[in-house]
């Protein structure tokens, strides 16, 4: 595409096209958007994060990532749409303008680039990273079981051939370690939102233990208002609650780690499939999915802005 206005948000794109989109967006909005490389994937691909900032230094910030499970294509596609939406709405929409006047937004669109490239070239159903495990012919670890939060507990597998293999040790996956290092170095992230598909859920800690999170009441309230905002557009029904209560025990997961870092507003989305397509959501549903999800993201970001801690 020659500009982000001619970019087609209603189709799925390759890694190269998404990375190309990022460069065009930065070139079009150099005052608002910058591209950071936070590391390299196992196979050596650069891992990029878009930073949306209107100034200041190490401001309180919001982290959003999509595509950590590579086959969940609607999430990376929604991430592209979010990036464009932020540049369109800053200065136009009062909510987003207020957020960006006080906070930064970090958006990692392709959180698992090796896996994503593999879904385009070899196996559309690939979920994990592409790291090799010594002593096993099976490849990859589940990047949503590799975080240092309940790592090794029930709710993940130690078998490298399973889809929920936790990896050799916490942060063994380069794709996870690069986020851990970035978040720790930044030190002022106030909300952490990791976006998956599918099953129409909005989840908060904990996943690795049944204990109720100290901030559970507030997180539940925020989740309720977010899913209400989401369903106001097309009526898409989301359930919400803690990971372990709403689906199952999941150890070493992303937002249990971010919550353990003191990032109170830690949420995981499981976007739509509307009960029919699972991971193979038709491209015609990308924009509607992104639009409804954006309303929920704004509800969470606005709450974060209005409840500094």
């Amino acid at each position: 595409a020659r500009s982000t206005d001619t970019f087609n948000y209603a189709t799925y794109h390759t890694l190269e096209e998404i990375y190309g989109f990022m460069d065009i967006l930065v070139a079009e909005h150099p005052q608002l958007v910058s591209k950071l490389q936070i590391g390299n994937s196992y196979e050596g691909r650069p891992i990029y994060v878009l930073k949306f900032s209107t100034g200041g230094n190490s401001r309180p910030a919001i982290w959003i990532d999509t595509g950590i499970h590579s086959r969940e294509w609607v999430t990376q596609a929604s991430g592209v749409w979010f990036a464009k939406k932020i540049t369109q709405d800053y200065g136009q929409d009062s909510t987003l303008t207020a957020i960006l006047d006080s906070m930064d937004i970090f958006l990692e669109i392709v959180t698992n680039p090796d896996g994503f490239a593999f879904t385009h070239n070899k196996n559309r159903m690939w979920r994990k990273t592409r790291s090799l495990t010594e002593g096993s012919s099976c490849v990859g670890a589940d990047p949503n079981r590799n975080w240092d939060a309940g790592f090794g507990m029930p709710g993940a597998s130690s078998n490298p051939c399973t889809e929920t293999y936790r990896g050799k040790f916490a942060n063994s996956e380069a794709e996870v370690k690069s986020i851990v290092d970035f978040v720790k170095n930044h030190g002022n992230i106030k909300a952490f939102i990791s976006i998956h598909s599918y099953s129409q859920l909005l989840l908060y800690p904990y996943g690795y233990k049944a204990e109720v999170a100290p901030d559970q009441a507030e997180l539940d309230q925020v989740a309720k208002s977010a899913v209400t905002a989401l369903s106001s557009l097309y009526g898409t029904k989301f359930r919400y609650g803690s990971i372990i209560k709403t689906i199952y025990q999941a150890s070493g997961n992303t937002i249990d780690w971010s919550y353990s870092q003191g990032i109170k507003y830690s949420f995981t989305f499981e976007l739509r499939d509307t009960g029919r397509y699972g991971f193979l959501l038709p491209a015609s549903q990308i924009v509607p999915t992104a639009r409804e999800t954006w309303l929920a993201l704004c509800a969470i970001m606005q709450h974060t802005l209005n409840h500094p801690y």
Binding site: N8, T11, Y12, H13, N121, K122, N123, R124, M125, C161, E163, Y198, S199, I247, Y248, G275, R276, Y277, G278, F279, L280, P282, A283
Partner: protein, 94 residues
């Protein structure tokens, strides 16, 4: 490139804990090469599993033998993937 012709995605409805456990038994049978898109969790929440064609009959017999309800959510995964590729290719040529 992996071909998913004939692979089906079944949406299983386990109505009680015993049925969820039964489905979990399926999960452990590695030779069936099942890919759980939504794993067995709690009674009442849908369980979606991609079943390679060689395993389809065995899985359906197992579910029916244990009175576990299911529907076929996707008849042929490869057909949907072909559509997805065509749509991407059409955009690119345009």
């Amino acid at each position: 490139k992996e071909d998913f012709t004939g692979h089906q995605v079944l949406r299983i409805s386990a109505t009680d804990e015993a049925q969820v456990q039964k489905v979990k038994e399926l999960e452990d049978l590695e030779h069936l090469k099942l890919d759980f898109w939504r794993g067995p969790a709690q009674p009442g929440s849908p369980i979606d599993v991609r079943v390679p064609s060689p395993s389809t009959q065995a899985v359906k017999i197992f579910l029916e033998a244990h009175g576990i309800g299911y529907t076929t959510m996707i008849e042929d995964v490869q057909a949907l993937l072909d559509e997805e590729q065509e749509q991407m290719f059409a955009f690119r040529t345009r």
